[in-house]
Every structure is written in C-alpha cells, then in structure tokens.
Symmetry: C2
C-alpha cells in the first residue's frame, strides 16, 4: 500500500511480558515500514550479545539519576533493582519530522506515558499461552530458573494492566503479530483527527 505523506509521526507504546518476542516483532516491523525505535536507557548489566546503543543505552546509576534530576526522561521505572527510562529529546525530534516512534516499555513506564501523551497508541502483546511463554523464556537461555519464575509471576501481574491499553496483539506467530501492528498503525493514520490537513488541504473539495 502506498505510504501517504504525514505532518507528524505517531508515538507507539509496546508492552508485553518478558519473553513474548517483542524484539523479534519490532525488528520485522522496522524492515517493513519507516519506524524509529527509541532505545531505552538502563542501569542493568548487558546480557550476552546485547550492544550498547542498540538494545539499550547502558549507563551508570549516577548518570541515570542525573537524567531524572534534569527532566530528560519521558518516563522511567525501577524494575528488579534497575532503572529503565526513555529520553524525551530524540523522540520529539523524530515525531516532528513525521517519523513514527516505537517505545518498548513495561507497564509502569507505559502508565506514565499515558498521562503525558494520551494520544499515543498503546499496544500490549501476549503469547498464545502461559506454557508457550515459559518455553520461550527457557529457550532464550539467559536466565536461571528463579529468574524465570519471577518473570512468569511478573507477567501475571502485567496482564492486569491490559484494560488500560488500546490494542491487544497475539504473538502466536511473528507474521501475525507484525501484521496486526501494521494494521493498527495504518488505521491510526486514517483517523479523521490525523487527516485534518488532508480534508482542509490537498484533498479539499
């Protein structure tokens, strides 16, 4: 489908339990449409294979607390004794240039973005089943059994926040989840309020 010109990008917030496959879906989505993925800041240690500036911007606790104090963050949260947060400046620039911006943040951070950016698109991604989530966490081979048990318990808590999201996407298959998110983004572009410039401008009767 033809991409139509836009005056302002859309802010998309994606949440979902650890292990649901957000990274894979995001990578596939970015291969299919212009999209800026906002790399979060964190104080946690990199996992094997994670790169600074790609998966996260890894910073010290001291540096993170300076960013909090200087109001440089759109949202931040502490989770399993580490800070996770999103820088505001880059996001603003991208949105103003007409680029869609995707944030991969957990439910507490999403709640904060909902307060400051109610027009953002809030998507929650779930696995097809609890058993499948457990299988994916084990297959990832990065966490011990206690950490996995903690992540599964955390997932149950996160599910309670689903009613606060706009959309629920099921990652039973990457292509399904990507297709659903693509449809959600295209539909959002078609909203009357996002096409005011069209009715009043180029396409006016």
């Amino acid at each position: 489908m033809t991409q139509r010109k836009k005056t302002k990008g859309q802010l998309i917030v994606l949440s979902g339990p650890s292990g649901v496959g957000k990274s894979t879906v995001i990578a596939e989505l970015m291969a299919q449409r212009p999209l800026y993925f906002s790399v979060s800041y964190t104080t946690r240690q990199p996992r094997t294979g994670e790169q600074d500036g790609v998966n996260y911007n890894f910073v010290s606790r001291q540096e993170f607390e300076r960013m909090i104090a200087d109001n440089e963050l759109l949202e931040y949260a502490e989770y399993v004794n580490n800070y996770y947060g999103t820088s505001l400046k880059v996001i603003r620039e991208k949105l103003d240039s007409g680029m869609d911006v995707l944030l991969d943040i957990e439910v507490k951070g999403a709640a904060k973005v909902r307060q400051s950016c109610p027009d953002a698109i809030f998507i929650f991604m779930i696995p097809p089943s609890f058993e499948e989530l457990s299988r994916r966490l084990h297959a990832r081979n990065t966490d011990n059994e206690d950490v996995i048990t903690g992540r599964l318990e955390k997932a149950r808590q996160e599910y309670k926040e689903i009613p606060n999201y706009d959309y629920l996407v099921i990652n039973d298959k990457v292509s399904n989840a990507v297709g659903e998110i693509e449809s959600i983004l295209t539909a959002a572009e078609c909203r009357v309020m996002n096409r005011k410039n069209i009715v009043e401008g180029d396409y006016a009767l």
Copy 2:
C-alpha cells in the same frame, strides 16, 4: 494474515459522496475478507444495470412507509425525494454469528446509526480531488448535468460531517482504499475491548 475466531461481528458504516467509488471498493473488500454487505431498501427507480436484491432492495413508497411504521429499520432518510433505509433484522443475525456487516449509507443515515450503535466503525471515503469526483460522475454516464451539479453540491455539504466519523479513507486508487479499510477492520478486531474473551479465555496466563 491468519483470521482469528471472533464471538461477534463488527458493524461498519461507510459514507462518501456519490461517485467516489464505494461500490468498487466494497466489491474488492468482499473478495478479500468475509464481510456481509447490507443491501439497502429504497423507493428510487433502478439505474441501468442495477439489480433488485443486489444493489438495492427496490420497494414502493407504501411498503417503505409500512417498514417505518413497524420499526423494521435501523435508519432511514429521504434524499432527492426518495427513501433509503437499512433493515435491522438481518444485520443483527449476521453480527451475532460473528460476521462483520458493512453499511453503505449517506451522512444522515450514519448519524442515526451513531446514536443507536456508537461502537460501530464510521468510515468516510473521499476522492483525491473535486475535479476527480466530477470526472468520475461524468464517466458513470448515468446522470445529466443538472443532477451531477446537484451531487457535487451535496458532496460539499457532506464533507462538513467528516469530523463525526472515526476514519477518513482516500480513494485515489482502489487498492489503497481497500488496504486502508482492511487495516481499520483488523485494528478494530485488536482493540482490547474486542479481545476480552481472549485474555480471559483461551489465551489466559
């Protein structure tokens, strides 16, 4: 993309100026996904090539007024001295069976549906330009110049109703318009409120 099972269909209202190409877009959409097109009732004369029960259910003024009196219509309106209306019974059955139902109705009828079915999806379709709309009306070769002038003036009036719709679709090219409507319908299926059964049922953690 895999079609997921649904418990209830969605009601979709499509409006747009005469000549914008709604019929062509609807036919293409129905070829691509399960969709019930609600055939309207009208008291106007069939145009060349129009079939009773396909394009419209053509009925007498007397019969139409009986349907009004018996509350058989979801909405109806009078337009250029003819009645146009939508039967409620068939729509209810289709929606309950999980089928999406599309109504092609003008702005007055849509306003009535909005009152009784606020959860329906309201889509307005526009041509890429006024000149193009005029060209399409002439190419259709069914109306004289006075009727076309009337339709164009009517289109200008209808545009004032766009802010009451959820989505604006541009029919510059049939495949674009169909793609946008498909995305709108898929996104609607992904709304959290439409997937409650998923979170609480088969996909529950």
